[in-house]
Symmetry: C2
Subunit: 428 residues, 2 copies
């Protein structure tokens, strides 16, 4: 009987796993460099946790099930509810700011189709317990440092930033009543995807008192200053978002990542819980989904017990990022090279080969050998196929002096070496 | 509303995550040192995959669910079926031996109670496509090298080995017909747990023609030679298992891990698919569950399409191993230290602090700073709380010469250093 990998799920054969690990290693090392600590949660949570955050409508988008005790659970579709739960449980004990990251595996019950994954990994970076725009700028700087390290320059990608507080005021000035801005954000979120004509048509339906063409024009072309001017009409309470946003831009300059950043009024993030700065990363020249989305929220733990915890953070999925790196030719070739492949010049020496292999592995080197006893030439071919940096040949010099032939597989040079000095040689 | 972590699941706060990462890093580096490549699969599979391997009875032990297309899936309770599926799909393309490892997360629908986890991680190491006892010895050597690296000596733990082929013959000689050995293996598997009296009672019920006391005595005391003598009565086809087992022991010696290994006729592994050598790792002085279980199987992909693939491998769960390390006092103290904490001597210098922080992070160091502008003393306390190796104080020397005060937080020594040399200083 033949059984396949479930639709929308992925097998990671060693060559795929090397790419995942390369990505995860970058995610981890950048997060750590910025002083973030890793956390993790369970693969499934009580279903109520997601209903609480997103309403009962979320259930159809989740893989949910019950246990024998009739408790309802769902595989996590995002990390934020878990983060909220964990922080709420220890809100008073955790020193502020709470700088945490995670690389959770998560699932969504997407209809299986090309490019729609049901399972993916997502890098989550959050700073909690601070309202300082410094925190907003720092999480953006984490994202930018990752982009820089994987070779994506400001010509390749852009961080597009906006502020929901400013947009609220600007929209009011453009004729959208405060109570209907959720719908407006949703339409703006889709404006690039659906194009100007469709956008204006939808806009007119929902907001007959607002000039759709003018809105489209603002979204397409407005600078921060224009938006501020527009938003200025909204009232006095604009002072705080303006100060916040300008301070964040100054901090982006301090973190030397301003070159990646552009103001873009089309970035509003449909999600209801964002309240301040919002941002996305997009490839500049290729048309791809957003590579990252994030923003500031007033109260992470609002729906759970515990004190108010403001925060700012982002999520970056593995699949869109790897797709972008592939498209832009930035994915490195990742060979699973080994340090040494140990060869017997004579089947009688095989036990010595295993002894030497064991010694080198204990010294921390990555070492392999042939399971089959065969000619040196064939074993050298295997060494080559395994991308070994060195071949170590155990021959007749072994019994007297524990000496081997050490062959550099890159240069082809070969010399006699004592077993005791091999590890040091190879580390050089 | 307060929502908890689901029963039997775990939250990993940063201090827990450090322990997990410490364990996973060891699992990865040991596997790689031995030439094994990492793979992964999806978190859930078609339910049929598990039914095929274990029968329909397995369903109640799984978390299963259907998608909108009424397809049935289950969260993986073990990795072997996924491994079988992945190998079967490429059986002819993969070079032999296939040496693979994985650190999958998996779930079982255990009744929630103390010590019974519903979610755990399990290190899986398998060598496929070789029947050579060398492969059996090598996976045992991988396990032993891990034990050695985490500080567990042969006084702390033992690898208890046996061979199902030998046991079949020995049981026949002890009066258990060939067709009923599944039940016999199951009882032997539980013999230590239930004690001699209960074992003999059960044995008598199932095998009235077999001397229960004699069996119990053999299980408790037999050496390999005694078992071989017993098994010898079984017939001529004993030659192959005997040769295999003896050759494996010789290879364990070649891999220098013999000191950890003992023959133990009680180790039979209940699982039906093992056919050759079987082994478990147990703590010697503390009574804990097995820390590892594994063995040889004739045909991994037998139930799926594809050619016959023999193999040998083991699984080690994260929770029992961490429990053992804790019990034995071998779990190291893991601080999340940072390389440097950068301090402003004067709030006017804060922008310079952020610039220097950015520069050091780009050079690969782990660097943090205070979100609050406050006195040097308070910032130094924060540096200490973060277990920073160095405090870097940006003061009045900065504007002219880009010089800082560099304080070694271990020795307390402080000196003036140029910004350009900081990274090199700290790496030393």
């Amino acid at each position: 009987m033949s059984i396949q990998c479930p639709p929308g799920m992925r097998d990671f054969y060693p060559e795929d796993m090397r790419v995942q690990n390369w990505l995860f290693d970058h995610w981890r090392s950048v997060s750590r460099a910025f002083g973030f600590s890793e956390y993790e949660g369970p693969i499934f949570e009580f279903l109520e946790l997601y209903e609480l955050k997103s309403g009962a409508g979320i259930v159809s988008e989740l893989f949910s099930f019950t246990d024998r005790g009739e408790r309802r659970f769902a595989i996590r579709p995002e990390m934020t509810p878990t983060l909220a739960r964990m922080v709420a449980a220890r809100a008073n004990a955790l020193p502020r700011p709470i700088k945490w990251f995670s690389i959770p595996r998560m699932c969504r019950a997407e209809k299986p189709q090309r490019g729609r994954l049901r399972e993916f990994f997502q890098w989550n970076v959050d700073t909690l317990g601070s309202e300082d725009p410094l925190a907003d700028a720092e999480v953006v700087a984490v994202a930018v440092e990752f982009l820089r390290r994987v070779g994506l320059s400001e010509q390749d990608v852009a961080v597009r930033l906006n502020h929901r507080g400013l947009m609220k005021h600007a929209l009011e000035a453009l004729g959208v009543p405060v109570g209907q801005q959720g719908k407006a954000f949703e339409l703006i979120d889709r404006s690039e995807k659906i194009g100007d004509d469709a956008f204006c048509q939808h806009w007119r339906q929902h907001f007959p008192d607002s000039d759709a063409e003018r809105v489209a024009d603002v979204l397409r072309r407005a600078s921060l200053d224009e938006c501020l001017r527009l938003a200025g009409a909204g009232g006095d309470d604009l002072a705080q978002p303006t100060r916040q946003f300008r301070e964040m831009w100054e901090r982006l300059r301090s973190f030397a990542c301003e070159a990646y950043c552009v103001f873009d009024p089309r970035i509003v993030r449909g999600l209801a819980y964002y309240t301040g700065a919002v941002f996305e990363v997009h490839a500049r020249r290729v048309q791809l989904r957003a590579l990252l989305g994030g923003g500031r929220y007033d109260d992470l733990t609002g729906l759970l017990d515990g004190p108010r915890v403001p925060g700012v953070g982002f999520g970056m999925g593995d699949a869109p990022m790897l797709e972008a790196l592939r498209e832009l030719g930035k994915l490195p070739r990742l060979d699973e090279g080994i340090d040494a492949f140990v060869i017997d010049a004579d089947a009688q020496r095989f036990d010595d080969v295993l002894g030497l292999v064991t010694r080198l592995r204990r010294e921390g080197l990555v070492v392999d050998y042939s399971y089959k006893r065969q000619a040196i030439g064939k074993q050298l071919k295997q060494a080559s196929a395994r991308a070994a940096r060195y071949a170590v040949i155990v021959g007749h010099e072994w019994p007297q002096a524990e000496q081997v032939a050490l062959k550099d597989m890159t240069t082809g040079q070969q010399r006699v070496a004592a077993a005791a000095e091999l590890a040091a040689c190879m580390r050089r």
